[in-house]
Structure formats: C-alpha cells, structure tokens
C-alpha cells in the first residue's frame, strides 16, 4: 500500500464521444469522463462503483490503452497510457465483462496459450502458466473443451485467467462477476484477496455493493463521468453518517410530527404495525432524534448505519434504471 509512484494515477481526465455515422462522427458529443482524478497506490484493491453509463468502462479502457482520452493524463506505474503504451501494456491485465472476448471454437487451454504467447511466454512456460491459471479459476475439467459450450460464468472465469496470463502488476476488472453464480462469485472474492496478497493492484468496476464492500480496500463512486467520492467502504458508510436512520415503534403522532420538524430530519416513513423509519441528512441529527424519542417515552428504538448500497443511492440519487447522458 505504500509506494512512491501510484500504480494508477489519473489527473483531470476527460473523454467525450461524438455520436453519428461515418468516419468523422460529427454528431453531438457525449461526455463519458468529466475531469476524473484518481490515485491508486500499489497493492490496493480499488472499487469503482456506479450505474450504467457512469464512465466506469470508459476509464478502464483508457487505462488499458485501447481508448485515447480527450484530455488529461492517466498513468500506470508512472507510464503515460497514451504516449508510453509499450511500457504500460506488459504491466496490465484486463478483463472486460460479458460473454464476448474469447475464441469460442477453441478450448480454454488453446485460448490461454495464444494469449500467453502474446505476452511473450515461450511454449513451455505458456503451457505451464495456462494450466496453473485454469486450475486456479476452477476450469481444469473443462480445459480441453471448446469455449462455445461454456456457461456465462465459466466464460467469466476464463476471462479472469486471461487477464492474469501476463502476470500483470495492475489488473483492470470490468464487472468481472457478471453472470457468475454465488459460489463462483465467492471464489472470485477469494481470488481477489490472493491477488492483493501477491502485491497486485486491482481496479474493479462493479454494480454489486456487497462485492465492493467485501473485496475493496477503497471505493470510488462515479456518476456522469465524475468521481463523487473515494473512501474505504466502512469509512464511506461512516462518512455519510448524516444519512443514519432510526427505526422505532409506537411513536405517538404528536411526537412524530415534532421529530419530523427537527433540524436534519429528511423523512419519517411509517410502516406496518406501528413501525417508523426516520431518515436523517445531517451529521448529529440522528443523536438528537434518538434523544427526543427516548425522552418522549419511546422504548423500541434502534439506529443503524447505511449500507454501501444506500450510500450509493443517496449520493447518486435514486433514479432506478435511468441512464443519464
């Protein structure tokens, strides 16, 4: 976690896309990254959390040298991803999510052998490395089978193996658990833990809050191409303690009205059987509400910190499936 040069360093990164047909694409521009600043120290597992269209994949693509930024800089281990691609590429491994990205008519072993060769491994080492990774991602029994017969989860495991084939210092994982069953997803988390202990840096994009909480050292929230916050998962919850909520039962209506009018109280949501959840929006508001409820004779009362998912929804806004552009 301590290194003079950040494993990933991004400064004021912008990327816009022109919409339209033809080679020149002169249509209106869409902003995918809007002044992103991010520094990830070596050895950190960093989560990038955001809704569809937030800019997660675009950032991964810029870092993996396959997409040029419109402006700003991005570096891997001190090497600029735009100007020093030859130095950057041996350092990174990429895993883009989804079913595509593999040679479906070839076996898992043949796929990995080819990628190994492209990372400069000779035949003997390529074979050994492929077998090691196939074993590591749990595909030993399917190693000789064509990939086209693989389930989505199996393909995703093979993607992971491919990302590791070049023994990368920095691993860019773009929604790597998409399509994995819960057991595979748990194994993946274990694998990420191993990668961390090997000293690799991992940038992981995900929609899955539990995953981010479970495997990441720090998490950045991204939306509309802007980084909203970067914190440790637990700190993020604490940082946003102003969104602490109080669950109570049998609160008299007069007292509830009084609480609703208190400074920092955002909402009082009455549920079934006399339950009520009081949402706060300011640090310290929860304590004041709690004190008032207790002094008002309410005995069934509890406070809780929001989960990362709630943080995510609070910060990004509860806009459901809407993709903002």
């Amino acid at each position: 976690m301590t290194s003079a040069v950040a494993a990933v360093s991004v400064r004021d990164l912008h990327r816009t896309f022109a919409i339209g047909k033809g080679l020149r694409k002169t249509g209106p521009k869409v902003t995918a990254l809007d002044g992103v600043d991010l520094a990830i120290p070596a050895g950190e597992v960093h989560g990038l959390l955001g809704p569809n269209g937030a800019g997660k994949t675009t950032l991964c693509k810029v870092l993996s040298t396959v997409l040029l930024p419109t402006s700003g800089t991005a570096e891997i281990m001190g090497h600029d991803v735009t100007r020093e691609t030859a130095a950057v590429r041996p350092l990174i491994g990429i895993v883009f999510g989804g079913e595509r990205g593999l040679y479906s008519r070839l076996s898992a072993r043949q796929n990995l052998a080819f990628w190994a060769a492209l990372y400069g491994l000779d035949k003997r080492r390529a074979r050994a490395r492929s077998d090691e990774l196939i074993d590591r991602v749990g595909l030993t029994d399917q190693a000789a089978q064509p990939v086209e017969g693989f389930s989505r989860g199996m393909k995703q495991r093979l993607h992971l193996a491919r990302g590791l084939i070049g023994d990368p210092k920095v691993l860019l994982l773009d929604e790597p658990t998409t399509g994995m069953d819960p057991v595979a997803a748990r194994d993946f988390r274990t694998l990420v833990g191993e990668l961390r202990s090997e000293g690799r840096t991992v940038l992981l994009t995900t929609h899955d809050m539990a995953e981010a909480e479970a495997v990441c050292d720090r998490v950045s929230l991204i939306d509309n191409g802007r980084l909203l916050a970067t914190e440790r998962p637990a700190t993020l919850g604490t940082w946003i303690s102003r969104f602490e909520r109080i669950d109570a039962r049998d609160v008299p209506q007069a007292l509830l009205n009084e609480v609703a009018a208190m400074q920092g109280v955002a909402a009082t949501n009455v549920g079934e059987a006399g339950s009520v959840r009081i949402e706060t929006t300011e640090s310290g508001a929860a304590a004041a509400v709690l004190q008032r409820l207790v002094s008002g004779g309410v005995t069934s009362v509890a406070t809780s910190l929001p989960s990362l998912e709630e943080v995510y929804l609070h910060v990004i806004g509860d806009r459901g499936m809407t993709v903002q552009r």
Binding site: L67, G101, S104, L106, A117
Partner: protein
Amino acid sequence: MRTFAAAFGFQLTTMRRSIGDFQPLITAPFFTVIFLAITEHAGRTDLAPYAVLAPTLIALWGMALNVAGELIDSERWSGTLEALIATPSSFASIITGRIAAVTTISLLAFVESWLVAWAVFGITVPIEHPLEFGTTLAATAFAMAGTASMMSAVFVLARSARIFQNSLSYPFYVLGGVLVPVALLPGWLEPLSRVVFLSWSADLMRDSLTVGSVPAAALRLLAILGLGMLGQLTGVLLLRRVLVRVRTLGTLTYA
C-alpha cells in the same frame, strides 16, 4: 518473430475448427473441372496449365479476401480486438502472422487442381521451370499477404465490408489475368492490370509451367515482390492509422 509464429500457429488451429474458411479450397477443384472441360472441349490441350493455374490464383485471392481480409473485423465483432491491442505484442505482427498462415494454406489449391487434372482428365501438367515456379508462388503468397493486410485495415473502417469484398473478387480475376492473360485484354486495361501483382504472378507462373524459356523472370519476380512490399508497407501504415483512429473515436468494439 515469436508473435508472428504464435499468430501463424493460432490461425492454423482456428481454421481447423472453421470449415467455412476453406471454401475457396473446396471450390477450387470444381473450377478446375469447369476450366479444363472448356479447354478440352475446344481441343486446346496447350491451355491446360492455364486451367490448372486459374483456380489456384482464385483460391489464393479468395482466401485472402474472405478470411485474411476479415481478420480484424471478426476480432472486433468477437470482442477480442481490445484485449489483443492491449497486449505487449505488435498488432501488425499478429495480423501479419495470421494472414501468412491463411495465404500458405491457400497454396494447397495448386495441388488440388493439379490432382484433379490428372485424376479426372488424365492430364499431367508438368512444371517445366520448377525454380521459377516455386519462387513465383512464394513471391505471390508474400504479395497476397500484403494486399490482405491492406484490405484487413480498410475493412475495419467499413461497416459493409462484404460489399467491398464482393466487388473485389471477379473484377480482380480479370485485371489479374487469372484465366485470360492480360495481353489478350483490351489495350487500355493493361496499365491498370500491371499495378495488380496478380497479373505478373499469373503470367510468370504460366510461363514457368510451359515449355520454352521464361523471359525476364528475375525482373518480373521483382515486380511481384515490389508490389507485394508496397502492399505490406501500405498495410502496416494503414493499420497504424486505423488503430489510432478507432482508439480516438472509441470504435474498437463495433464496426
């Protein structure tokens, strides 16, 4: 060189599982039968080498156009192009290695045609000048690979690659003098034909299959190699430009 060799081997492995890629090799024997049937019916046994050679060149061009030309585009559609570009290997070496494998395989069409002539028509086409023939075949494969890499880069930019492919087949068989020597075409076509390496290849190969001397063989071989080199260089430069363009536009994953 390791990348080139790995890409060459990878292409052979991929094609083993993709029978459709061999379509030009599957049709070559049929072309041989058709052409030989015509020349035999006309009583022109002297044209047998022409009839055997034409399917070879058609297969060479066809595979370069359909398999090699589509390499980058198919990588793009299968979602592997980004990962390929992100590897430390030179993308040009990967593509050149794979195209070389396709071109090498397509040379089998000559063996097929020769065997069909012998088995179906009882015609043995002698290779009168094996050295000239062999070197011309190798030079042609090299030039074809250069043309294919050029096409491969162009097809990345084209959403309707198949339209280009269709228009690049039969017109080039004519311009390349694949069956009918360029000298027999209208005079105004000749300058155009001479910038197509295939026309030099076809003439030189025909000469090396027939009795008599092969005039200016070295010079004609140089013409093939020169045009091939031009194609290779153009292909590499085009590839470089195309990669910058798609990385700039963000269109690596779709055409």
